[in-house]
Amino acid sequence: MHIPDGYLGPATCGFFYLAMLPIWTAASRIVKKTLTAKQVPMLAIGAAFSFVIMMLNIPIPAGTTGHAVGSVLVAILLGPWAACIAITVALVIQALLFGDGGITAIGANCFNMAFAMPFAGYYIYKIISYRASIDSGRRVLAAGIAGYIGINVAAFLTGVEFGLQPLLHHNVNGQALYCPYGLNVAVPVMAGEHLLILGWIEAIVTALVIKYLQKHSPELLTARA
């Protein structure tokens, strides 16, 4: 789901950088109000966890791969704004150091995986786990559903961003200048692989960690930045 350089045109890249600026600003302002020094190591663990889980590529049918992202889990534990910061750090490092995701696409990749995904997942978790006791099974289920929907929101957005490119940028011969596949291909592929396979991986990872924490560190499920 890491859009590389060259797949999005300048308009899309610029748009998402501009969209992320106020989000990053709000995230730092809000996190500054709520984050305690004691929570900083958890935030670092969150960024590191997301970084490494995204390296675990899973082969999927049709000869391609994908991976979980982890941002919903981080959002459940630290709040969506703190998750936005942690996942942004992971994505920027992946782009700059490892060429995973383009530097021109950092805005778009962050919008999908560091903003849309943790926020969607966080609120779904909050709704489904509303008034559930800390040790309730509903909380585990809520985490799984939130992970599943969260990553699918991100994948859908990624598909739309890819798919808009042939409409936005083509030469007189009709050749694409950036991503050559339109919405009719990009959206079903991105949505399909995450609905069928990767969403379930994200769901299982998110739910299992929450289940583990219910037993071993329930205080993490109440306190939040």
């Binding site: 500054k32 984050l35 663990i45 490494v52 390296m55 675990l56 590529n57 490092i93 490892f98 060429g99």
Partner: protein, 110 residues
């Protein structure tokens, strides 16, 4: 044991397992992730390299491209796995350092 200690151990396990993210796709002959192909792969699919894609795709030269060392495309799996683990360690360390610095600024005087 503190929960943060357990998390660090968990991260260590993920680092050790990380080469699976390289080996499993290799085993099943899975190519790149959809939409993350190199310019030549795209040419193989559609017969030409989109002009903007050609120009932008080489814009940035990452120091450890694809979690490997530069020019390591054809190395044996063991070397690639080593580079993958090293990349995971380096990536995690930098994530942690960056967040700790940001956190110092963001957590303020509480």
């Amino acid at each position: 044991m503190k929960i943060t200690t357990k998390f660090w151990i968990g991260l260590g396990v993920l680092v050790v397992l990380s080469p699976l993210g390289l080996l499993l796709p290799g085993h099943f002959k899975a190519g790149s992730a959809w939409g993350e192909w190199g310019a030549n792969e795209v040419k193989g699919f559609i017969g030409y390299i989109p002009h903007g894609l050609e120009k932008l795709s080489s814009l940035w030269s990452a120091p450890l491209p694809g979690y490997a060392f530069k020019g390591w495309g054809k190395k044996p799996v063991a070397s690639l796995s080593f580079a993958y683990i090293l990349s995971a360690v380096v990536g995690i360390l930098i994530c942690v350092v960056v967040v700790l610095i940001l956190g110092k600024f963001l957590s303020g005087k509480k």
